[in-house]
């Protein structure tokens, strides 16, 4: 029939030519995303070396020429890998507990209006609390040890995670809710098939922010709380500081930075993948 033909033709015209998703294009995009980062890194090391060459604080301040071999040394003798293992184990445990607590609180607050009126603004207020300020209370409650650190990580990360969920539920488009109800989605099914998937981008944003808070709380905790057992990155920082070991402290800081950047990249990747799938991303934008 004429209508079919016209319709198929129009569909083809509307969709435009197929997009080039070749390997070379992918490589080019990867390079476009990488070279500015490499350039920035080179610049940082150059400035560092220049400051070192000016002879500022000659007995304390070391250049990259001494710090990088020290970093390599600490990596090779297993001190940093062991510390990273200890710290990351705490990070994962603390973050998972915060994730659970934050999600449950977020879902309840999003669902129950009186609860939101009661503690909605407290949750936002908690986010502004510097994590280090929790430690005196945490140490009194849990004494010196890992429990105190996990407690502060929860206080830091759970509000962000809860807020992500609340925002996501709030911003579920009313039109989609209407469509879902027309379809017969009610109660648990409405949440399972509509509200939760619709909230996912906001939830991931909350997870990312929550991670940043958890990581800061953890680093502060390892510096402030004394723990019996193998040293984490914070303990390594502390002992290097007491020995005025500039190279050692800087090497550990570099490791902490790298971990932060890598985890942040993972969250960003999840975020852009989600948004690209939903057509929320400008296709011309590089990420």
């Amino acid at each position: 029939m004429a209508t079919d033909q016209a319709l198929y033709g129009l569909d083809k015209l509307d969709l435009g030519p197929a997009q080039d998703r070749g390997r070379s294009r992918l490589a080019r995009r990867a390079w476009a995303a990488t070279w500015p980062k490499l350039l920035a890194l080179v610049l940082v090391f150059a400035i560092w070396e220049i400051v070192h060459l000016t002879g500022w604080k000659p007995y304390v301040f070391k250049g990259p020429g001494e710090v990088l071999p020290e970093l390599w040394h600490l990596l090779a003798n297993g001190q940093i890998p062991a510390a990273v293992g200890v710290t990351m184990e705490r990070a994962v445990i603390g973050y998972l507990v915060a994730l659970l607590v934050g999600s449950v609180i977020g879902l309840f607050v999003a669902r129950i209006p009186p609860l939101r009126a009661a503690i909605g603004s407290i949750i936002t207020g908690l986010q502004t609390m510097p994590s280090i300020a929790w430690y005196p209370l945490a140490i009194i409650l849990f004494t010196q040890g890992e429990a105190a650190i996990v407690f502060v990580m929860i206080m830091g990360a759970a509000p962000s995670i809860a807020n992500g969920i609340i925002t996501g539920v709030d911003y579920t488009p009313p039109l989609l809710l209407r469509a879902g109800r027309t379809m017969g989605l009610r109660g648990v099914n409405l949440y399972r098939y509509l509200v939760i998937p619709a909230s996912l981008p906001a939830f991931v944003a909350g997870l990312k922010q929550g991670w940043a808070f958890a990581w800061r709380s953890l680093m502060a905790g390892e510096l402030v709380v004394s723990i019996v057992g193998p040293p984490g990155l914070g303990v390594l920082l502390n002992s290097d500081q007491s020995q005025s070991d500039f190279a050692g402290v800087t090497a550990v800081i570099i490791v902490i930075l790298i971990i932060g950047v890598v985890v942040d990249m993972l969250f960003s990747k999840a975020d852009t993948t989600l948004r690209r799938r939903r057509g929320l991303l400008d296709p011309s934008a590089t990420s």
Partner: protein
């Protein structure tokens, strides 16, 4: 060509159509509370739609078109009067496709099947069949944002059909589409509603669209919404948006609507 409904003898019932009307509105009123005062959206609207009939509802702003559809869909309750659709299933389509952006076209359709408890094994077959019915075979794996506006609206139609609706309520479904796409979709909705003997209640503010599609065109007044006129449109053969009969009825509808709008201008 077009005749006022009240000048006609009672409509001949379609073969196979049951005696009870598909949609029966009896003296339906709907008021909303806004800032202390009541806003009357619909005022004693009575409307009878036969099984398999294609009824277009037209009116200027504030005629309560969307309120009317919400009542028939059961998303809202009337302040007074009765809405009766018997045991018929009612599907609803909006101006925006309202597809779930995280699901592919096929999954969007499948979710409607899942929501009414269709077992997994039959779902796949039905999705293929529905996607084919809206002529989107091969596009089931695309996400909504990868499709054009007209294609998205066809996925929304497939989803509405997946609700196994006997009655399809359409709220300006082609309002946001360009004229060429809309013209093709008129052919499509006409074919699909005939193939499936759907009862369609089609709200629009486009007089030509109403004249092109309806077996009957109902004109509503504004603030409050009231049925002020009905035009039966005999189906003498294939219609086109640019055929003289359609143009003639469209002109009549425009005049009637302007008369109604002028009443508010005084």
């Amino acid at each position: 060509m077009s005749l006022r409904a009240n000048e006609l003898t009672p409509p001949v019932s379609l073969p196979g159509a049951s005696a009870a009307p598909a949609v029966q509105l009896t003296e339906v009123s709907k008021a909303y509370r806004t800032g202390g005062s009541d806003l009357l959206a619909l005022d004693r609207v009575s409307l009878t739609v036969r099984d398999g009939e294609f009824v277009c509802i037209i009116g200027a702003s504030g005629c309560g078109k969307s309120t009317l559809l919400n009542l028939v869909a059961g998303l809202d309750k009337p302040t007074a009067g009765q809405v009766d659709t018997g045991s018929r299933r009612v599907g609803l389509m909006f101006q925006e496709p309202a597809l779930f952006p995280w699901l592919t076209a096929g999954r969007n359709v499948e979710l409607a099947l899942r929501a009414r408890g269709v077992p997994k094994a039959t779902r796949r077959v039905q999705v293929d069949e529905l996607i084919a019915a809206v002529r989107l075979t091969g596009f089931a794996d695309k996400r909504p944002h990868e499709l054009s506006g007209g294609m998205r609206q066809r996925v929304a139609l497939a989803r509405a059909l997946a609700q196994d609706a006997d009655v399809l309520l359409m709220d300006e479904p082609f309002g946001a589409l360009d004229a060429m796409t809309r013209d093709l979709l008129h052919d499509e909705i006409e074919r699909i509603s005939a193939d499936r003997t759907l009862t369609v209640l089609f709200v629009t503010h486009n007089v030509r669209e109403a004249a092109r599609l309806g077996d009957r065109v109902v004109v509503l007044s504004s603030r409050p919404g009231r049925v002020i006129e009905e035009y039966a449109v005999p189906r003498l053969g294939p219609r086109r948006i640019d055929s003289p009969e359609v143009a003639k009825l469209a002109a009549t509808l425009t005049d009637r609507l302007r008369e109604e709008m002028g009443r508010h201008g005084n």
